[in-house]
Homo-oligomer: 431 residues x 2
């Protein structure tokens, strides 16, 4: 065996502690796989006195993260602190000091990926980030390498475990959004401020990374159209079930004619679609390749151990590279001319619920609005009487822009009391 | 752009033609991904006059495969002819002539993998084989690289599309095995001799490759215990449905205490398990990692385009390596001390149907046999009267050996007319 490859870890929270544990407990196995021992040399934390979920060798802990990333005795810097700063500054410094980098930081990559990947490229070091999307599910490497001979047409994923847990509870127990959010909090699945999850920000960051790799073009979090799950009602869930659907928070990226569409929103998915049966905190990414066809990658999208599995896989790759003088595949965003499709142009089907007056001619008035905007209605059902009269419709595929105009005009119709609910429908033969 | 990387293709059947088409039609995209143009230089076939599903450049076709693998103008040899010979001899010659190798040949790798990988190692060339298992689904690379930081405990897969199509038909239409086999044949899903599929040989080869990578130990096709689907009856399928199961041909590899068990057999899978909903010719591989937890990879496991997607992905990896002087991860079977667990020791649950005499004491006699072999019964149901009297049981987990002894003794009981059916049950909390 050669001299050890030395790892410095930035952060020792849930993922950091699990990473340290694997490096320490599986040292022999990892050394055989990498071809050289991998040694956890230093761990930078804010408070060295805090109890940790791992027994670190004496003298490993430090509060000086900057000293770690500039330490000549460290070969690989592993960043699991998350957020933009100080992660950005530390990783840039690490690259300049010729450290290879492994990170799980989706937020940083989805906003300043170009800067960070550029710094690694300039310095000639590896920067790997399998753990940044969908935790323990291998998805970055398969897309960058296994599908390098294919053309990805669409990525469709459930990439946020917290919201998927909430929607699973709502679907299976009939709970309201607020009740299910409480359950998720009690199980430790939510942050103090749950908005990054329930408003779709977390999923948007992950989708930006997936879309960039899928389409070889830079997509940032701000390019992703975003809508959360806070408005989903018990009635929506019931209606979805009656129609044979589940409601999921989907991250969708598509490419057509060099233009990319990326969006995160709840959608009704037919129960026969593989994504409909992805339950609880599981994540799944559905990839459509021109040649490979439909692929799905399913697993645990969060949690210390699954995420650490991905982090250590990346560490082993860097170690193998160091021993053979190889380099991992770097930034693959070479289509600098790709543009983001305006959200209004994206074609979509909608499920719509209207609260209407119980009088003759209502259906004709409603159907007239759809007809004027040349979006046809796939199915319609009338329910209830008097004050409870309701129309439930599913449209055929049409642009988001036209759908938005239709919803405005419907609200203005004298016979329509309110557009009670509207939700996109995905995964059918039409889209 | 640098000088082109030149590919020689051995075989131009369904997969070969699809590979050639991607290389020709996506040449620009592939050149950007690889960093250098990839040129299809030569294609060796048995009959150059045969019509092909791809328009090859003039002068590409040859019947001289040996000249191709020794041609100094070729960098990468892609083998899609299948079978042991002449594939083995050609790949050994290619390696000795310093050609990198991409192959889809599961049979060769599962029987003589050591020799072929050894030849590549000795020559210092890459040998990649993503397409050999589960067609277009990325599974070899994720297991070798993404999970390099984890410990795989179990692999559970549906890796033969033909048998999965047959079982899907039987399940959904009530057809017999023979009828569904006829349907599969009419759709071109079967070979002239369907036994490689329906007797589980094809799945066993793929499992040997998956197990070798999962457990870092050499497992060959002959190590895999194998049972096909020809004995599955309409009654078995109906009983499975009544109990909430689907019947699938599963490939299972497990490791415990350094001993590996690998087997292919039909099994009842609970409808709630993700593998139960894998339909038609789709394949899926379920991987359980100590840290990543449960992962599933789903997609099209056969067909020209999906398999070619994997082949071209490997070609791009080799090309990237050639440009940077890197090497792909080679043979990872470094646990030379791993042994195959005797099949009789493997623990399993069984579903058993007994045709019995309609008389008092039958259940006591049957239960007594299980009790003597200390395997307990999880559920039991009696059905029918007189000549139709039937007992349906599901056992708790116990060794295959004890189950076999029980089946023998049950056959010998005066009150048991026959053991009508017995099938393993998998994917429950117990196993």
């Amino acid at each position: 065996m050669t001299t050890p490859i030395r790892v410095g870890l930035l952060g020792c929270g849930i993922v950091g502690a699990a990473t340290a544990r694997i490096l320490l407990e599986h040292a022999d196995e990892l050394a055989r796989r990498a071809g050289s021992p991998i040694e956890l040399t230093r761990v930078a934390v804010r408070d060295v006195t805090k109890p940790r979920a791992v027994a670190l060798p004496a003298g490993t802990l430090t509060t000086d993260a900057h000293a770690l990333v500039t330490d000549p005795a460290i070969d690989i810097v592993v960043e699991v602190i998350g957020g933009i700063e100080p992660a950005r500054a530390l990783l840039i410094a690490a690259a300049r000091n010729k450290k290879h980098i492994v990170t799980a930081n989706k937020e940083l990559l989805a906003t300043l990926g170009k800067e960070v990947l550029g710094a690694a490229e300039t310095a000639g070091v590896d920067l790997l980030f399998e753990a940044s999307v969908a935790g323990g599910i291998p998805i970055i490497r398969p897309m960058k390498e296994s599908l390098a001979g294919d053309r990805v047409q669409r990525v469709l994923g459930i990439v946020n475990g917290t919201t998927n847990y909430i929607l699973t509870r709502m679907s299976e127990t009939g709970e309201t959004f607020a009740e299910a959010l409480g359950e998720a909090g009690a199980l430790g699945y939510t942050e103090l401020d749950p908005s990054a999850d329930v408003e779709g920000y977390d999923a948007a960051s992950k989708l930006a990374i997936l879309a960039s790799i899928a389409f070889n073009a830079r997509v940032v979090a701000g390019d992703v159209q975003r809508e959360g799950i806070t408005q989903i009602s018990v009635t929506d869930m019931q209606a979805a079930h009656e129609l044979g659907y589940e409601i999921k928070l989907l991250a969708v990226a598509e490419q057509e004619g060099g233009r990319i569409s990326a969006r995160v929103h709840p959608a009704m998915v037919p129960k026969t679609h593989p994504l409909a049966s992805v339950r609880d905190v599981f994540n799944a990414v559905f990839v459509e390749g021109e040649h490979a066809g439909e692929l799905m990658f399913l697993g645990r999208g969060a949690g210390g151990d699954p995420t650490a599995s991905a982090v250590v896989g990346d560490i082993v790759e860097v170690a193998r590279n160091m021993l053979t003088g190889a380099r991992s595949v770097g930034c693959t965003c070479y289509h600098s001319d790709a543009s983001i499709r305006p959200p209004g142009e994206v074609r979509m089907r909608y499920y719509v619920v209207l609260s209407v007056l119980d009088q003759p001619g209502v259906l004709a008035a409603v159907a007239g609005v759809f007809a004027r905007h040349t979006i046809s209605i796939s199915s319609v059902r009338q329910e209830g009487f008097g004050d409870e009269a309701t129309l439930l419709l599913i449209t055929h595929s049409g642009s988001e822009g036209r759908h938005a105009e239709i919803f405005c005009e419907l609200e203005a119709l004298p016979s329509v009391k309110a557009v009670t609910s509207k939700m996109r429908v995905i995964g059918t033969a039409e889209g």
